[in-house]
């Protein structure tokens, strides 16, 4: 058992990509390549329509963030931006006073 755990850790060490995701859609790839194959033979509009369909198909496989993740990120970005704005404004005010005293 303990050896098994060690094996898995070793395996983890060789990973190239980040994250712990699992394989979710092995079939999509096949369908995509066949669609790719007969691209050149149709008219322009048919090809555009096919492309749009492919885009939509890819978008369906997108993993979107959860609601709580979305809220935290939004809040953090908001706080960060506001803090930087306050910092820069305060700095500008002080520098403005100094420069005015020197050159004004």
């Amino acid at each position: 058992m303990s050896q098994c755990v060690r094996r898995r850790q070793a395996a983890r060490g060789t990973r190239r990509e980040t994250g712990l995701g699992t394989v979710s859609e092995p079939a999509g790839a096949v369908e995509a390549t066949t669609a790719h194959g007969d691209k050149g033979r149709k008219g322009l509009f048919a090809r555009i329509a096919l492309f749009v369909r492919q885009v939509i198909a890819e978008l369906k496989k997108v993993v979107s963030p959860t609601r709580s993740e979305l809220l935290t990120y939004t809040a953090v970005v908001l706080v960060f931006v506001v803090v930087v704005m306050i910092f820069v404004s305060a700095l500008d005010y002080l520098i403005g006073l100094g420069v005015f005293a020197l050159f004004g």
Binding site: R16, E17, T22, V23, L59, V63, Y73, A75, V81, G96
Partner: protein, 432 residues
């Protein structure tokens, strides 16, 4: 969450990086206030105060320099020449084979390209500072303000001013590179972020004080919130391409046999296409300053390319964002390289053969995902712009659309970078 900010400051090396970045930002702001030698500072102040209510053609360029341009300070040009130069060098890679060869060379080639970018920045800075100073001397920087902005008209003073502004641009470029190297975030984006953050509150303030102030400021803040939410949503969404690693025995150990994924962001280019597109569209306006203000082509530029709601401007803006989206993605993500690496380490996408088919498949996915991503970027860049025009706030919030998006995008990128640095130490950052 706030405790995480405090924790970020308690981690020694992260604290050093944050303080370093803040110090550089402060230096950048100080330089934006120091007047260039030869400028009549009290007159400039008076003219700025007068010009605040009027429309200035240079308004949008002024925002990107954080208000430094109209003050004729030593950092008047800001980071813009550097951004323009790096766009040009990257574009030239397509045209000049030598640049492409340098890019493929790896580290040393990249250093050479950076060197070219710096030379080009200085050349652009000379060009732009000459433009700005000529405009100022002719009294066109502040139309309607009769005071003399430049005290002494002699050639040597003007040359001195041009040299000073060019040197200032060089310094800004160095500051930006220092942030990238030793601070947090991307220096170029952070400095433009600082510039916009410096002018934004004043803009918001004048919106609140104008006609229909309360209604407008509520709409503006709501749009900003929506943009933040949308940017966060899209930036966090991923198309995960599954990858499996083959099991193999090396000696007595067993390696691999795991499955992971390649995360493909919908919009891999981030806000860079928007920054690029808006900086390129700012150039004609700058050039128009050279010409006679009543000449036909100057009028054409100011009605078609300087106004944010002009159909031509909107169309060009959208097209450029689309183009730069694909362009930048193709620079940052190389399917052949990724496929090659995967093959080397025994990885494969289920159902796709290793090697060239894998590269083709990755290219297929990325083209489709980026198509959606670039459309999203166009929409999100145009919404605030059109809102600003629709509410009649183009004077108070020049460059409204792009600046909102740049602020949010750079903010998110920087926060994520701080967070990942924090996680290296504490396992949990502020983005739990």
């Amino acid at each position: 969450m706030l405790s995480a900010f405090a924790r970020a400051f308690r981690t020694p090396d992260l604290r050093r990086k944050l303080l370093f970045t803040i110090a550089i930002m402060a230096i950048f702001r100080v330089g934006s206030f120091i007047p260039t030698p030869g400028v009549d500072y009290p007159n400039v102040r008076q003219c700025i105060a007068q010009a605040e209510d009027g429309t200035s053609l240079l308004g949008l360029v002024n925002v990107f320099s954080g208000g430094a341009l109209l003050q004729l300070s030593i950092f008047a040009l800001g980071i813009m020449p550097y951004i323009t130069a790096s766009i040009i060098v990257q574009l030239l890679r397509v045209v000049i084979p030598r640049f492409e060869a340098l890019h493929k060379e790896g580290q040393s080639g990249q250093a050479k390209l950076t060197q070219y970018t710096r030379y080009l920045t200085i050349a652009l800075a000379i060009l732009q500072s000459t433009t700005v100073i000529t405009t100022a001397r002719q009294g066109l920087l502040f139309p309607g303000c009769g005071l003399d902005v430049i005290a002494d008209d002699s050639v040597w003073t003007l040359v001195l001013m041009i040299i000073t502004m060019t040197a200032g641009t060089g310094l800004v470029m160095w500051l930006g590179e220092l942030i990238t190297e030793r601070g947090v975030g991307n220096g170029m984006s952070l400095l433009i972020f600082t510039s916009i953050a410096a002018t934004f509150p004043t803009g918001l303030w004048s919106v609140a004080g104008g006609n229909d102030g309360v209604r407008n400021i509520i709409i503006v803040l709501l749009v900003i919130l929506v943009v933040i939410g949308a940017v966060v949503y899209v930036e966090q969404s991923q198309r995960r391409i599954p990858v499996q690693y083959a099991k193999r025995m090396v000696g007595r150990r067993m390696y691999g046999g795991t499955s992971t994924y390649i995360p493909v962001k919908i919009n891999m280019a981030g806000v860079i296409p928007v920054i690029f597109a808006s900086s390129i569209l700012a150039i004609p306006t700058l050039v128009a300053q050279f010409g006679d203000q009543s000449a036909g082509w100057v009028l054409w530029i100011s009605s078609n390319l300087a106004a944010q709601d002009a159909p031509l401007y909107v169309a060009l803006y959208a097209l450029m964002i689309l183009f730069f989206c694909f362009f930048y993605t193709s620079i940052t993500f190389n399917p052949d390289e990724v496929a090659d690496n995967m093959k080397k380490y025994g990885g494969f996408i289920p159902g796709i053969r290793a090697g060239r088919p894998t590269a083709e498949y990755l290219d297929y996915v990325i083209t489709r995902i980026t198509s959606a991503g670039s459309l999203y970027l166009v929409v999100i860049a145009l919404i605030p712009t059109l809102m600003v025009v629709w509410l009649g706030l183009a004077n108070q919030l020049p460059f409204g659309g792009a600046s909102v998006l740049i602020i949010v995008g750079v903010g998110l990128e920087t926060v994520k970078q701080i967070d990942s640095q924090l996680q290296q130490r504490h396992y949990e950052g502020f983005l739990r």
